[in-house]
Structure formats: C-alpha cells, structure tokens
C-alpha cells in the first residue's frame, strides 16, 4: 500500500506545473492544456482520497471533472478558432481587445 | 502564412491565403488525374475555392512533327495522341487527307472502318468506366471492363498486329483485309457484350452511393457546354443532341440505324448514363455493320506518293471523347504545310474549372473522370 502522501505529492507537482504553464506561456492552446494538467492533478487527489476513505464518491467526482474539462476544452478551443480566424494569432498577450 | 502570395490565379479576387485555406497540388503525379494533368487547388477546408489547370507535361509537338513528315508517315503519330482510341484518331486523319486529295475509300473499307471505330469507342468507354469507377472508389468494375476491352484488343491485334497504337487504316482505304473469322468474332463479342453492359449497370446505376457521388456533381448546363465548345458525351450529357455521326455522316454511318442518347441535368451521373447508352448504340452499329460487309477492293485510287493540291481542309469525326477535327493546309508538296488538330479532351478540359468550383476534393476526381480526358491528346 502506497501512502496517500505520495499521491498528494504527485498531484501537487502536476498542479504547480500547470499553474506555472498558465502563468508563463504565451500560446493560448498551451495555457488551455496547462489547465487540463491542473484538473488532472485534482483528479488524482480525488481518486486517492476515494481509496483512502473506501468510498466511491471521489471517483464519481472525477467523472464530473472530466465532463467539465471536456466542456471547457470544447468552448475554449471554439473561442481559439474564432479568434484565430479574425486575428491570425494564438498568443495570449495579443488578445488585448474586449470587442472585435 | 499570411503573406503567402499565390501567383497565377487568374481572376482570383484574393491573392492572399485566408486563415484556413491551403493550396494543394493535384498531380502531375497523382493516382486519379489520368496521366500528367496538374490541378492546383485552393482549398477552404475541403472545398475548392479556386483552381488552375496546368498542362503540357506530355507535349510532344505532334502538330509540328506533321510538317516534316509525308502524309503517310504522319499516320502513326496521330495514334499516339488519344492512345486509348487510336483507331478513331486514324480514321479522322485518313478521312481528312482523303478529303484533301478528293479521293474516297471503297465501300468495303468504309464499313470495316466503321466497325473497328465503333469497337474502339466501346473499348475507350470501357476504360473510362473502369477508371471512373475506381476514382469514385468502386474497385471491381475496372476488371470487368478490362476483360471486355481485352476481347476488343484481341480483335485489333488479329486484324493489324497492334493492340494499342494500331495504325489500322491507310489513306485511301485499308492496308489489310479482314482476317478469316473476323465477322464471327465481332458478332460473338457484340452479342455477348449486351449482357456485359447490363452487368456493369447492375453494379453501379442503381447503387445509392454511386448516385450520391455523381448526381448533382459537376453540373454543366447546356448553354455553358456550348459556350465552352464541349463536345461528345460531355455535351450530350447536358442535353444537347449533337453527334457528328448524325450531323455530318462520314464513313458508313449513314447506312446504320442508331440513336443519340442525351442526358438532362448535365451532371456526372447523366454523363455516365450517356456513355453507357453509347456503348449499347455502338454495339448496335457493329451488329448491323457486321451483317453485310460489301465485297470489293479495300484500297481506293490514291498514288504511292501523295501530293494533294494546294488548299486546306477541315474534317471532323465523332471520336469517343467528342469532336476530333483535323485542319490540314497543303502547299502542294508531299508534306503538309500545317496540321492543326482539334482534340476533344483539351476543349472539354476547359470546363473543369467551372465544374469543380464549390465542390469538395473528392468531387474533383469524379469530375476529372467524367470529362474522360487523355493527356496525350490534351498536350499533343
């Protein structure tokens, strides 16, 4: 049995890497992917605690988070495509207009 | 990508690629451009925004060669234009020179010419059907078509020794008389062939996918077709009843009873139906002609050295792909002063750009297939 702390550390690492990605990268697609990393870190936590408490609820929340990630990715990528069609760029710091 | 300029798009309102546009080069090496045709397509996703045909990869200067050959010597060269219908090419050339000379082939020669040309039309259409079907993804008809085409090529081989570039006719008539058993063989083939066409139609005509892929694809209206000078099945598919065999009969066509099938909508499906019907009609002509081949000489009265009088002549025939015309200018020597050939494929190909605009990539191959081009003829 691997202690739950190990899972939490892996999760922490993924979370922090995701945060760094979101904060430092310029490419919006990579920012979106970093958000996926963060969600993934949360999933690890949930499943680890699910085993810890011997309760399947945590796993079910994972499913909801994955659903949420799918919705977020679909809408986010939709925005990126729409933006790209208008501005031909995917860099976050060039997204400086509130209205096109 | 924003500053990728595209040159050579005449009439393109936009010379800069849009964000989601790509340029794709179809050919000159591509499985379904029927040779070395190159089509430059500008795609929006999979839709064609603009296209440009680039030809000339097979240019051999046939017309120029003619100016340095005697009239007989040029005969074999015309076989190499539309190499899947060499007999028809030869017929057009021989008749044009005969017209220039004021000579005429004897009746027997005319009837044999008619039979062989109609067989050639069937074989050309068979090859078209097979490749067209394979372009649209039906793999099997090709082999059935080639099986029947093989029979025709065997008849040619027995008749003149060559299968593809036959050089079957000579100016003034024929060089070879029919071989023993020619009539029986042609008859057997024709009687059998009717059922074969039924077989192909069974595979394709009613097939839902085939209909979905061809109906409404590459529509060419009758007015457009006439404007572009399209001839042959492409014109008839658009509903124009024009066939030189009926309009200006040559060889022995006025003796036989046949119909001109026409389409209605001018789409790929109609052209397919027209060609299928044409095969049946050609078969009918062959059956009629083979019944009585008049006896008599096979070579008319033309000298050994051909010296046509000064003048010019235009003669055209209905080749499998459309109107094949020869315009020959003679300066009274043994060599033509100028030969200009009106190749049906080349002129039909001009309709391509109009037909594919707004369609998908998959339709391009269907439309190239339905035009039935042979690059040897387009480039000459």
């Amino acid at each position: 049995m691997i202690p739950i702390g190990h899972y939490l550390f892996v999760s922490l690492a993924l979370f922090i890497i995701g945060v760094i990605g979101v904060l430092t990268r310029r490419n919006v697609i990579i920012i979106l992917m970093s958000i996926e990393l963060i969600l993934n870190a949360v999933n690890i936590n949930l499943v680890a605690f699910s085993r810890h408490w011997a309760n399947v609820d945590g796993q079910i929340f994972t499913l909801f988070i994955i659903t949420d990630a799918a919705a977020e990715a679909a809408v986010g990528l939709g925005i990126i495509i729409a933006f790209f069609k208008n501005r031909e760029t995917v860099l976050a710091d060039e997204m400086d207009l509130l209205k096109w | 990508m924003a500053d990728t300029r595209i040159s050579g798009f005449p009439g393109a309102e936009q010379t800069v690629l849009g964000a989601d546009e790509i340029i794709i080069n179809m050919g000159p090496q591509h499985p379904s451009t029927h040779g070395v045709l190159r089509v430059k397509l500008r795609l929006d996703g999979e839709r064609i925004v603009d296209s440009e045909c680039i030809i000339g990869y097979l240019h051999r200067g046939v017309e120029k060669i003619a100016e340095h050959r005697s009239y007989q010597q040029f005969g074999p060269y015309v076989d190499r234009m539309d190499y899947v219908a060499a007999v028809s090419n030869g017929l057009g050339y021989c008749e044009a020179v005969e017209k220039l000379l004021g000579a005429e082939a004897p009746m027997r020669a005319k009837v044999v010419r008619t039979i062989l040309t109609e067989l050639q039309r069937i074989s050309s259409h068979l090859l078209w059907l097979g490749t067209h079907a394979i372009d649209i993804g039906a793999l099997t008809p090709l082999f059935y078509c080639l099986r029947e085409r093989e029979e025709i090529l065997k008849i040619f081989e027995k008749y003149c020794g060559a299968r593809l570039t036959t050089h079957a006719f000579r100016i003034g008539g024929l060089q070879y008389d029919t071989y023993d058993g020619f009539e029986q063989e042609v008859k057997r083939f024709c009687l059998d062939f009717v059922h074969r066409v039924d077989e192909y139609e069974q595979l394709l005509t009613e097939n839902r996918i085939w209909i979905a892929r061809t109906k409404g694809v590459g529509v060419l209206t009758a007015a457009d077709a006439i404007d572009m000078g399209a001839t042959g099945p492409v014109l008839r598919g658009s509903g124009v009843k024009w066939d030189i065999r009926k309009a200006m009969p040559y060889a022995a066509y006025d003796k036989y009873d046949f119909e001109i099938p026409i389409g209605k909508n001018g789409d790929t499906y109609d052209r397919y139906v027209v060609r299928m019907q044409e095969m049946r009609q050609s078969n009918r002509i062959c059956l009629q002609a083979i019944e009585d081949i008049p006896a008599g000489p096979i070579m008319g009265k033309v000298g050994k050295v051909l010296k046509p009088p000064v003048g010019e002549v235009y003669h055209s025939i209905e080749a499998p792909k459309g109107e094949l015309g020869y315009y020959i200018v003679s300066d009274g020597t043994t060599q033509p002063y100028r030969v200009r050939i009106r190749p049906p494929s080349f002129i039909n190909l001009e309709a391509l750009d109009k037909m594919i605009k707004g369609h998908l990539v998959a339709d391009v191959v269907a439309i190239i297939g339905t035009l039935d081009i042979v690059l040897g003829e387009v480039d000459r």
Partner: protein, 438 residues
C-alpha cells in the same frame, strides 16, 4: 533472482499468451492481406498472387521481407521524432486491445472487470498514430487525410460505442468472458439485437478506415491520406496496425454479438455432430493440399504445398484431441479457438465483400450518415434493448418482446432514412457538415 522467478511463475500464462499474440498477430494480419487479395481477385475475375509459393501462400512473407529491406525515406522538414513514433502508436494500440479479448474460455491474457471498456479505450488511442503521422509528414495530402480520419473516427466511435452498449446491456457485464457466458445457454445477441449488430458492422468498417468509408486513405483523392509520405517498414507498420485493427473489431463483434467461442446451436443436442466439423474441415484442406502437391510446377512449390498440408493435418489432429477421453477437458479451448477464428474470418470476409462492391462515400455524405443516421439510430437501439430487458424481466416471452423492440427500432430507422431523403431531394453540391465539424 528468486523474485523474478516467482513473478514469472505467477504470470506465466499471461506472458505466454502475450508472446503468442505479439508473434502471431502480424503473421495473421499478413495472411488476412493475402486472403483479401485472393478474395478480391476472385470477385474481379482474376487469380491474385500466384508466384510466391503455391497459390501465393508465401506472399505475405515475401512482402514483409521486401518492405523490411526497403529504403526508409523521411521527408525533409518532417517532424522526425513524431514521424518515427506515429506508426508505433497505431500498432501498439491495436495489439494492446488484444490483451482483454478472450479467444477461448482459457486463452486470454487478462480477464478484466472492465474488459470491453478497456478495449474501446485502448483502440481509441490508435487515432493518435494516424493524426500525428499525418501531421508529422509535413504534406497537405497527409494533413487532409489525418483531419478526415480524426473527424471520421470520432463520429463513428460514438456510434460503435453505443452499439456496444446495446450488447453490454443484454449481457449485464463488461468482462469479455462473462459476455460470452451470457450467450451460452440462450441465443447469441445478434439474434436479440440485429440492428445493434448492423450498426456495429457499419461503424467498425468506418473505424478501421475501410471502403466504402476509406476516406482518410482514399487512394484516388488523397493519394494515400496520412500514409502518403510513409514508405518501407514504417508503412508496413501502419498497414499492420490497420489489419490488426480489423481483427480486433471483428473479435469484438464476435465476442459480443456472435457468441464468441461458442459452437453454433450449442444448446441443441441433436446438432452435436457439429463438433466433428473442426477436425473434418482441416482434414479436407489437408487432403486438398496433398492432392495438389504433385501438380505444382516446381519441386519447391510442391514442398511448400506438402508442408501446408502437413500443417493442416497437425491442426486437424489438434482439433480431434478433445475426442480422446483423456483430453476431453480441452474441448472448449481447442474447439472454441476454432469457432472464434472462424467467426472472425467470416466477419472480415464481409468487410472485404463490402469493400469490393461499393463505391466510396464523399466526406460530407459520410458525416451525414454518421450524425443523421448512425448515432440517432444507435441511441434508439440502446433504448429499445433497454425496453427489451425490462419486458423480459416482466416475464414477457422472448418473441413478442423481440418483435416489439426491434420493430420499433426498425421503424425509427426507416423514419431516419425518409428524413434524410426528404432533406436531400436534389443532393446539392456540398453540405455544410465539414464546417460544423471544425
């Protein structure tokens, strides 16, 4: 060292089975190719490969050798690493799927609780091989092929998945073993859910990129789609993945709808003579091989023919093994493998039959078929099977329940076809689907 030994001891059989599958699957795929070429030749009035070995029996080996020693061309400006890696992803996904499939009650690498789900998950990975390969080639044809392939596989995976859900609903389990066991006493699921089977058949053709849905590699349009820039062994690996995928989907269909390794009419005692079919079948093939042996033009071909005859004889002996009382227990395993592979072969044969009969769809038509017909119908199919299950629990007898649900689903199917036809009375040049897909 002892730890390793213990490990090997615990996992001996799964390891052996894995080795067998990794070793045999490429060979099997090669012979599926040969079978396809022969079937194609037969349908097209030709002979097919005849040169290498008698009747082309050694052709796959020759092909593999030729592809192995071919020059490996990597296009300039290609993403080399991805270009190298992409075919491997494809083939790995295809082979990994086999780890949960049961060829017999015994022959299975891992009996998983989530068996079918695992297979679906792993085979959905194969798409990355295609899309990355297409992207890495740095060619427009490849890219178009990859994009087409992605859109197509996502669309049809949904339909295939829902068709599988129907079968799983009937079985009440995801484990491949238990699915087959659920069909043991009663009927195969294909007779309970014919529409589900039909949906899976069509969707699996689309998923394996076979004609008439072979748009990603449509030869006449995109040259070879995502494989355009591949050659030599890397190409062969893609090819292997494609055929291995075919075997996988055929195995899934066999497991879920065609009763897996069960003998046809297993519950009818009067038809027990069918047990003699496997050995007699191989005996017949062996006899034919020996009959043809002296007629081969070259001595080496005679030798190969005799070898094949001997192989068949050996297999016949193996099939006859369960009739020996001492080995009677092996019947389910040995005969099971035979029936399983026979059903897989028939399924693949139907793939080939379809491929050589129909023209190819256009991309927008394919998408329309997927989204307007396949997916709605598969949802209705799941509903119908749910109703069937409830009705059976309410003590309805089999026939009324079956007729009610299947009839209802069929009506919906007809309605969908009618809708589609009404909408596209005159098929316009281009639909709007390609845009919506982006």
């Amino acid at each position: 060292m002892s730890a390793l030994l213990e490990f090997l001891k615990t996992y001996m059989w799964p390891l052996i089975f894995a080795l067998v599958i990794v070793g045999v699957l490429p060979l099997l795929a090669g012979y599926v190719v040969l079978m396809e070429r022969k079937v194609m030749a037969d349908m097209q009035a030709r002979l097919g490969p005849m040169r290498v070995g008698p009747h082309g029996l050694l052709q796959p080996i020759a092909d593999a050798l030729k592809l192995l020693i071919k020059e490996d061309i990597i296009p300039e400006n290609a993403d080399k690493l991805v270009f190298w890696f992409a075919p491997v992803i494809s083939v790995t996904a295809a082979m990994l799927a086999y780890s949960a499939l049961a060829i017999g009650p015994f022959f299975q690498i891992a009996e998983l609780n989530i068996g079918l789900l695992f297979i679906v998950a792993v085979s959905s990975m194969g798409i990355f091989g295609i899309i990355l390969g297409g992207w890495a080639s740095n060619s427009h044809y490849s890219l178009l092929g990859a994009l087409r392939s992605t859109a197509q596989m996502i669309s049809y995976e949904t339909a295939a998945g829902l068709a599988l859900v129907g079968g799983v609903l009937l079985a009440g389990t995801l484990s491949t073993q238990k699915i087959v066991q659920a069909q043991q006493g009663g009927t195969w699921f294909v007779f309970v859910a014919p529409i589900g089977f039909f949906l899976y058949l069509v969707a699996s053709i689309a998923e394996t990129n076979r004609a008439p849905f072979d748009l990603p590699e449509a030869e006449s349009e995109l040259v070879a789609g995502y494989m355009t820039e591949y050659s030599g062994f890397r190409w062969a690996v893609y090819f292997l993945a494609e055929y291995a995928n075919m075997i996988v989907v055929a195995s899934i269909a066999t497991t879920l709808f065609l009763g897996g390794w069960l003998r046809p009419f297993g519950s009818i005692a009067a038809l027990d003579f069918l047990d003699f079919f496997p050995p007699l079948c191989f005996l017949g093939v062996a006899g034919y091989c020996f009959y043809r042996t002296p007629k081969q033009p070259e001595p080496i071909q005679s030798g190969v023919m005799a070898l094949f005859g001997g192989l068949c004889l050996l297999l016949a002996a193996a099939m006859a093994l369960p009739f020996v009382p001492a080995f009677a227990a092996s019947k389910a395993g040995v005969h099971g493998a035979f029936w399983f592979l026979l059903k897989v072969s028939l399924y693949i044969y139907s793939f080939m039959w379809i491929r050589f009969t129909f023209p190819r769809f256009r991309f927008d038509q394919l998408m329309k078929l997927g989204w307007y017909f396949m997916i709605p119908l598969s949802i209705v199919n799941v509903l119908g099977l749910g109703v069937y299950k409830v009705l059976r629990q309410l003590q309805w007898s089999r026939w009324p329940a079956f007729l009610l649900t299947t009839g209802g689903t069929l009506l919906v199917a007809i309605w969908l076809v009618w809708l589609a036809q009404r909408k596209v009375a005159v098929p316009g040049p281009v639909g709007d689907m390609t845009e919506a897909e982006g």
